[in-house]
Amino acid sequence: MRELLRLDGLSAGYGKARVVGDVSFSIREGEYCALLGLNGSGKTTLLKTICGLLPAQGGRCVVEGVDCTSFHEHKRARRLAYIPQRHSAMDGLSVLDVVLMGLNPHLGLLENPSKAQRQACRDALAKMGLGGAAHRDFGRLSGGQQQMVILARTLAQDAPVMLMDEPDSALDFLNKHLVLKNIRDLIHAEGKAGLVTLHNPNFALTYCDRLLLLKEGTLVADVQMRDSSVQGLEKALSDIYGDVVILERDGQYMVGLRPARCPTS
């Protein structure tokens, strides 16, 4: 499988303060990676630097063999799509209008989408199970449906790399599962490289192919789910969360802290 995203010694931070230092890894097509770490470990900073929303302090971000570190927004958006933690309020826009936004990187400043491109957006909506909602008010959909529309927009953007910053954070329990499953299926089916930050390791273990563990701005472990035993996962996760225990049943995981090690207030 082709390598789609590669970080070469990427360092990131705010102003002169360094938050993440010298991170290197690569993601291949069809690979769904979770970036795990505690608050302040640098997950969002790293993700925003890959996106180009924060300037890199050092290193390179390479997509399909091309260094994107200094690309401007329009050029970068053709290679990297981003799903934010909370999308903007888009009340009053139709669902199709929202999906059409994904075409922007492929259009000139004053250009409008063609008929074929509009149809591609409708198809993207249909793939997300929202084929019948194209003309509904986006603001009147449920949180889960809205996140599906954002996914359809990402599909319309047609970038090889998908970056997601806690895309489940505003969703209820069932919708978290549904959205993360759909993202996984999309990445596998479309052959994209996916990198997602998640707070809850249960979801990462259940839905992602690979775990990248970040501790105090440093990448401390890179775990392939298919090659790892439960004991191996416990050992890796204990490095960032403390002494953890993992239960596995039918491909679903439950991560907990061993009672003796639960933090006290």
């Binding site: 925003k48 996106c51 180009g52 929303l53 401007h72 927004e73 329009h74 050029k75 970068r76 958006a77 053709r78 990297l80 799509a81 981003y82 934010p84 999308h87 903007s88 888009m90 009340d91 009053g92 826009l93 139709s94 209008d97 936004m101 994904g102 922007n104 990187p105 259009l107 400043l109 004053l110 409008n112 199970g129 929202l130 084929g131 019948g132 909602a133 194209a134 003309h135 509904r136 008010d137 449920s142 889960g144 449906q145 599906m148 953007q157 919708n175 549904l178």
Partner: protein
Amino acid sequence: MPVAPSEPDAVRAVRRRFAWCFAAVGALAALAFLFSFCIGKYPLTVEEIGAILFGGEVGQLKRDVFLNLRVPRAVMSFLTGVGLGLAGSVYQIIFKNPLAAPDIIGVSSGANLGAAVAVVVFGGSTMLLASSAFVGGLLVTFMVIALVRMTDRNSMATYILAGVVMKAVSESFIMMLKFFADPEKELAAIEYWSMGSFSNMTASKLAVVFPLFAVGLAGVVLLRRQVTLLGLQEDESRMLGVRVRGVRIGVLAFSTLMVTSTVCVTGLIAFVGLIAPHIARLLLKRNSFPVCVFASLVGGVILLVADVFARTIYSAEVPISILTTLVGVPFLLYFIMRRQGGDA
């Protein structure tokens, strides 16, 4: 989660609402134009207007009144309303602020300062006043943009803060000019200009204003897709490929040009840029660019009607901002009530 395919009904309902609203505003605009053509010191009948347009027998005075006074005045009021309604909608989208209006980044105070300078320093001939107000409006807007660039913080909040700063600076200069102005003539002229009026509107003024207005309007319409994208959070629009800094300046410049090109001739007009977008959203229940176009037509109708009242309710012409404020305040209160009721 999949949505049942009841799409045709939903599509038909939205299309029907849009069609009705656009037809209604079109009919109202036609009616308002007719009233604006007919009503005034020299009343004209519909038959006389028909005769003027289709080569019938009409006296020269009525012909002159229609062609040189009524038409430029009605067209100018409509264009000014269109500009304020469209710019107001665009500003409310890109500033993500339902109270944003064209003066949020100092356009109006800059134009007001320009007008005051023309009156006090250069004697205030009509064309000079308009040119000076035009330059003042654009200058202050570009100073706001320059201030934002200097701070290196390109967020919308910085634009609003820079707008507040430039507005305060402009107003302090206006106060200084008022202090030194001759209270009989100059002070009155400054005050009168700041209340807006479509009196003294002529075809030659319209000929100067129209090309500038058209450039602003065309720019905003061509950038309509970018306007919607600028309505997103900044990170989100950047990741959708919007080169935010340049596009935002472009949209602001074109919408400012559209407003300044008309306001420099008419004087300041309150509330239309604020309420027309709210009326449009209330009726169409959407927030896309066609709604901005609808808001511009609503703005045009409001100003056409306000101008007809301005020249008929009193023996002397009433400044237009008095009327637009009287209409605007109840609307604004209504919107506040709706918002409190959680229905906005």
